[in-house]
């Protein structure tokens, strides 16, 4: 019943992106003499930045552009063209595309805007173009994009209209906003980071983030991938592809549009708890993608991961020539799961040998206003040798009078070169003068430099979490056997068909489904008010009575749940009172559900909600009626592995309850993980299941399993029936 999670190999196949980024010839359609027109700027960039292939300006109005022979159309070139960049008014785009296909062009970049992003008419035009391109078997970037850039010295392709040629390096960048793409290139250059390739994806009609990830994972020039995303085209494909990429290279993402989720009709706890941003967070966490809160953070993290090894652990050693910023760094580290441990005896002795007597020898090491390059170099070497330290941060406030910052930078660079290969080093130069050039002069090459101590801590903690994710074993998911799937779908589809549209499954249906997937539910009988006392004697005590009334969803809100019934007369009396209470609240109590009360156990919730874009999300959290108020929950996209389930539970504030908290016995955590896996398997196998709330799920003492006490499922008619 268990199988490994692996993505299908085809998900990771690069289909044509390599050709787009490494063309041996480029046609610029709309190439103008005016370098301040878009087509003109692109042509000028190809020329200025030394593109190594052949360039064909396409301009029907002239025979020469920017010193090159111009052609009236793509077809008129008469030579093989790998890539055509289209920067013409939108009304002309479609016929240019036809022309390109006719001429056998292998790839397209459509810069022109006015398509799906602008109007319904544009959307249709975009769709027509996409059909043509797909039929021709070629790939297309855009429309409504800013183009491509590849710094490979064998290629030197810049078909963007930015004036920036960034330094070559190992960072690949995808941006879904063209304008922001400019800013990103600008910042990358300023921060002295190096780029492998850059793609502005625009409307993502054809080439998507998933395609680019599949290319970059095998691109030897790419070590880190940065994503600026505004939407997901196919989040479930991303969920399959991204983890495979992330196991090999870090992916750092900013996802804009957190607040755009808007409100959604919330008919169950699980749905009310979810929102689009929760889904994005779940997706990134599951996939090991580093989500940063801000653009600035994205660069800070990239600067570390692009140049330094991933730290093996959370233990940071800090050396600083000033106390204040070291404290700020320590605060920021500890707030984010990093620690500043004591140094080894050997390190302390080594520091004592050359630091002034009043220097603090506890981590962070305060050099007490010393700015001697030799002291700083020696300090770094000591931290490098210290087995208690996984990562090193050097903070430096440039001295006032004597030492030159360049000398300090050179000393840091020298010491960094001799550090053990697994230990990253970061520097904080608290100066508006920026970072001295010499910082990059050592054997390690570029070293990350931050202007504020907190930024270094934020980046380091992201790198540490990434390392933890990368080193965790792959998880296992559970799969329902075919007969179980058949049985569950029979139960669900019968009711869904009868309802004719989305509807709540009957309580019997719910217990049958849970029974089919081997998830225990508290025994319950639905009976009339008159039968209640007799049935109660048959079930045994103590009992819980729950209301069954048309339209009633949150039973406990209107007094529709009574606990602790101990005798038949209790039951009779409770039924009568409940009928009155429900009548007052506008409901008719038709029948009641009687259930043996579950004793000791931890109340948890397992639920499912279906996001229109992301599909099913599984939620686990503290159960009970206050779940929405306290929001102690965690989400994952299905399928959820045992590893994911364990992480979902570990994230909860209420997790200690399961370990035995303040005198209460521990609970069967493994059984809770098992139940999550079963629900995940159910969701994967039965797309008719839209929403599920098991609340509470009582987690009993170890070895005794879990019991769902109340369950609701929302279903829709079969999509394949």
């Amino acid at each position: 019943m268990l199988g490994n999670v692996t993505s299908s190999p085809s998900d990771l196949r690069d289909v044509g992106v390599r050709e787009l980024l490494n063309p041996t010839s480029v046609a610029v359609v709309g190439a103008s003499r005016k370098v301040n027109s878009i087509g003109g700027a692109i042509l000028a960039n190809l020329l200025r930045d030394g593109y190594t292939g052949r360039i064909y300006p396409i301009n029907p109005q002239t025979s020469e552009v920017q010193g090159l022979r111009a052609y009236s159309s793509v077809t008129a070139v008469g030579q093989p063209i790998d890539l055509a960049v289209i920067a013409v008014p939108k009304s002309a785009v479609e016929s240019v595309v036809d022309d390109c296909i006719f001429a056998g062009v292998r790839g397209l970049v459509i810069i022109s805007a006015g398509f799906a992003e602008a109007s319904e008419e544009g959307r249709q035009m975009e769709r027509r173009i996409l059909h043509k391109v797909r039929a021709a078997g070629i790939r297309m970037v855009g429309p409504n994009c800013m183009g491509l850039l590849n710094t490979d010295p064998r290629v030197r392709l810049n078909v963007t209209f930015t004036p920036i040629w960034p330094p070559a390096g190992n960072i690949a960048i995808l941006t879904q906003s063209g304008a922001l793409g400019l800013t990103i290139l600008d910042q990358v250059k300023r921060l002295n980071l190096g780029i492998s390739s850059f793609v502005s994806v625009g409307n993502k009609a054809d080439v998507s983030g998933n395609d680019l990830l599949s290319y970059w994972v095998d691109d030897p020039r790419t070590g880190v991938v940065l994503l600026y995303l505004e939407s997901f085209g196919n989040p479930r494909k991303f969920a399959r592809i991204a983890p495979e990429v992330v196991r090999r290279k870090p992916v750092v993402a900013v996802k804009a549009g957190r607040s755009a989720a808007g409100s959604r009709a919330a008919s169950s706890h699980s749905a009310a708890l979810a929102n689009l941003d929760v889904a994005v967070d779940a997706l990134f966490e599951q996939a090991g993608v580093i989500r940063t809160q801000t653009l600035e953070e994205m660069f800070d993290v990239a600067a570390l991961l692009a140049t330094q090894p991933v730290p093996r652990g959370p233990r940071v050693g800090v050396v600083s020539n000033a106390g204040g910023p070291a404290i700020l760094l320590a605060d920021a580290c500890e707030a984010r799961g990093l620690v500043l441990p004591s140094l080894s005896e050997k390190s302390i002795a080594a520091f004592r040998a050359f630091l002034p007597p009043h220097a603090g020898l506890s981590n962070p090491i305060d050099l007490v206003a010393s700015d001697d390059p030799a002291t700083i170099e020696r300090s770094i070497r000591i931290l490098g040798d210290d087995p208690n330290i996984d990562a090193i941060v050097v903070i430096f406030i440039p001295p006032l009078m004597t030492t030159r910052p360049e000398d300090v930078a050179a000393a840091i660079a020298r010491a960094a070169g001799d550090l053990p290969g697994e230990k990253p080093i970061q520097t904080v130069f608290l100066s508006t003068q920026g970072t001295p050039e010499m910082l990059g002069s050592g054997p390690r090459g570029r070293l990350p430099a931050y202007s504020y101590p907190e930024n270094a801590a934020i980046a380091l903690s992201a790198a540490y979490r990434y390392g933890t994710w990368k080193n965790r074993p792959r998880g296992n998911i559970e799969v329902l056997p075919p007969p179980v799937i058949t049985e569950v779908r029979r139960i669900i589809c019968n009711e869904a068909a009868a309802a004719g549209g989305p509807s709540w499954l009957s309580p019997e249906g719910v217990s049958q489904v849970l029974k089919a997937i081997d998830l225990k539910m508290a025994e319950a009988r639905e009976v009339s008010l008159e039968e209640a006392a007799v049935e109660a004697d048959r079930l045994g005590y103590p009992l819980v009575m729950k209301a069954v009334a048309p339209g009633l969803v949150h039973k406990s809100d209107v007094g529709g749940v009574v606990l602790g019934l101990k005798t038949a007369s209790d039951v009779r009396q409770a039924a009568g009172h409940m009928k009155q209470r429900l009548a007052t609240a506008g409901y008719e109590l038709q029948r009641v559900l009687l259930q043996r009360q579950i004793g000791d156990g931890v109340e948890m919730l397992i639920g499912v909600t279906t996001d229109p874009v992301f599909g099913p999300l599984l939620v686990c959290g503290m159960g009970g009626i206050h779940v929405e108020l306290l929001k102690d929950v965690s989400f994952r996209l299905t399928p959820v592995s045992d590893r994911d389930a364990a992480e979902m539970i570990a994230k909860l504030k209420s997790a200690p309850l399961l370990e035995g908290y303040r005198g209460t016995p521990p609970a069967d955590r493994e059984a809770l993980i098992g139940a999550i896996l079963k629900v995940s398997a159910l969701v994967q196998a039965v797309p008719e299941l839209m929403e599920l709330d098991l609340n509470p799920v009582m987690v009993l003492p170890p070895g005794q399993g879990v019991i769902a006490v109340d369950g609701r499922m929302r279903i829709r008619p079969s999509m394949d029936g």
Copy 2:
């Protein structure tokens, strides 16, 4: 029984700081020819920066320093000296101070280090110096500091050793770290912010943050105060002074050392929930001080408050020439309590008149890659006129080809000049080129400019919260009448004296104290196990039984609380079982407490814990046994006003429970506030009370008040007895 919270006038009296910052003559003791010695650098700064008063270098080894006549000692000057700056080896400081006092110097700045921060010997030396200075009636900054700076053109004092002379402006800065002070001056200059005065306080032996606040509150040149703090000398004095300052000028603080709190023996919920950083947060929130998470945020907030009005509301209007960064800004705003409302009909019509048809007319307004200065200017004017908008943000990605950023900046500056006086404007220039000079060219002068959209949002939300704090009415606190104080202290001191040291008050003592302050507690009787059934019949049912056993603190953890006892036989049986359970857990059940069970109500907690530095902290939160797990609590320093109490409650995730949540009736929120005020009054009047846990406090339906169900108090012997 109610009185207004006001600080005593003497708290806000400036005692000598003005003289320190505005001397008409300065002696530099340790003035050297070498400008790269500290004394030499200070003298050079006084000369370079154009100090308007008389300068007396003190150097016994020479008759001339840097072109000025040098004196062998302060006494040798023979002229009145307002300020002496001491930069000599620590062994010489004490005699220099003697000399200064003898010569009638009015104020001292001791740059020299090696005092309380370095060793016990240094601490004693510092104390001796302080005594001398106090006895002489003069003020002293430091030791171990970086000096003072006053940009007032009538003064131009720079007795620091930084090479930076910052622009004059309205920001006053206090730093507790000298090295970080350098960075702050450096950043302030880079960000084109202006400074009124700057004080590096060092060890704060005499002049403290409280003294400086008292000065700056009345300093007409100061509009915003920035604090970099590492410790509080007298937090309760700060708690009195700061709100009075903040009502007139914003105070922005970074407090380092969050993680330094360490763990503390946690013998009650309230104590376990508190830590030093919680106290700092409570203090700042209460006082209206804006606490920023990072240094960078401090500058971002200062840039806004130093140049723009405080926004009247949370409604932000955004205009951008690029979609991506506008979304990032919107996300960051909405995550921090700001909103981006729809614009008025009039504004939408005005935009429609000149924006291209596909431009979005919902806020944020996307100018769709337009970079025409006239368009941007017009857009700002429309937002200025829109009654739906309280604050304006302009985002600009510098154009690629045509418009000059300088022209855009000039257009923004023009439009900003015509905005209604109450609307702040911020700009985001997404460019490493920095901000064009022209941005400061309009009638509003400097405009805040950010490099990333998120920074603008963080600053704006801080300014908005500040405005909310500033506009709230002053709160009222409650004071216990003297006879009540006498009664409570009698109860407490009797028991404390008997115990001889810190101890828990007896259950009877707790009920007597609560009764004295008119805080209802559930009726309870402590009886022997044999008497329990008889006493139960007398009290009535349902009942709760609680264990009384030596050493037992968390009763429910070991089965020491049984609910729902309905008959005498229930009580007998429960007592027997409890005895066994406690024996298993290692406790001897000696007696039991019987209490009528409180029915419908919301379980809250009110507690007090005493921090060694901050004194008593009051905590309010969701009650019950999981309070430490869920940590849904808020803290305030005592005394707590009705306004504070309401804010404490509003901050809780569980606050909706009090308003009637999901079918449960609302609760008596006013009575809960009343109970908090009574506890606050109790704490203020009875310093013997160290710790208090009222958990749960049942908040009954409106008009029915609150009842403490369980209460514990830790007391210490009277400090004045």
